[in-house]
Symmetry: C2
Subunit: 135 residues, 2 copies
Amino acid sequence: MSQPMPIGTVSRLAGVKVATIRYYEGIGLLPVPARTGANRRGYDIEDVRRLKFIRHARDLGFDLNAIRQLLALAGLPEQPCDEADTIARTHLAAVGQKIVQLTALRAELEAMVERGTHGRIAECHVIEVIANLNE
Amino acid sequence: MSQPMPIGTVSRLAGVKVATIRYYEGIGLLPVPARTGANRRGYDIEDVRRLKFIRHARDLGFDLNAIRQLLALAGLPEQPCDEADTIARTHLAAVGQKIVQLTALRAELEAMVERGTHGRIAECHVIEVIANLNE
DNA sequence: CTTGCTCCTCTAGTGGCTAGAGGATGTAGC
DNA sequence: GCTACATCCTCTAGCCACTAGAGGAGCAAG
C-alpha cells in the first residue's frame, strides 16, 4: 500500500485549502482519516478524489447539502440516477432565477447611473433614486 | 412636535423588520433613538426615511458598507456627487460580473443535465461530470 | 543546531440578518 | 380590577461556507 499523504499534499492535489479540508472533516463531509504517530492526518487517493468531487461541485455552485447528497449517490452505482438529476435541475433553475433577478437589477442600476456625474449631492440622481424608490 | 413612534410602527411604515431595525442600530447604521419612560425606543419620520433609504439600497443589492457611505453623502447636499456615482457604478460592474459568471455556470449545468434521466448512477452524466471536471 | 516549514487545536470573525428564550409593559374587552 | 393578547425589552445563538490567527509541536535541510 502507498504511504498516507499529509494534509498539505492532499490540499495541493485537490485544490482545496488545508483549513477547508479540516472544516469538511468537522462537518462530516470527509471521513475522519487515520492519524500518524505524531497525530497527523494521513490521506489516500480516494480522499483526493472525494475532495476534487466536492470542489467541482462547489465550482458549479452546489451547496454543501446538495453535495452531501450527490456524494452519497455517487457511492451507490446501482441506484437510478433520477435523484442526482433532480438535484442538478433544481440548482439549474435556481441559477436561472438568479440571473433573471440580477438582470432586472442591472437595468435599474444602469438607469440610475446613466445621467452624468455632474452636480452636487442635492441633485444627485443616484441618491435621489434610492431615496424615492417606489413605495 | 409629533409623538414618537414605537418600533413596530416604524417597521410597518418602512418595511423593515423590528429585529432588523434593532440590528441596524447596533451596527451604527441608524442613530440611537430616545427612549420613553418604559425604556421603549421612540422614532420619528426622519428615521422612517432613513430606513426606507436603506431598504431601497438593499433591494438594489448594495451592501451595508456602501449604504453607510451613501447615507453619509446624502447628508451633505453641497458635496459633489461623484462619490455616490462611483459607488453605484462599482456595484453595477459587480452585478454585471456576477451575471457573466452565472451565465457561464448555467451553460455548464445545462450541458450536464441535457442528457436524459435514464439509467443507473454508474452511468449518470451528472455525477460523471462532477467527478471528472477538468483538472 | 538553527531556520523555516508544516502540522496540530481552538477560538473568533465574516455579512446580514433571523429565531428564540425569558421577562416587562401596554391595550382592549368584560 | 382582571384577563388576554400584542408589543416591547435584552441577550444569545444560529445560518452558510469558510477564513484568520493564536499558540504550540514536530520534521527536514543546511
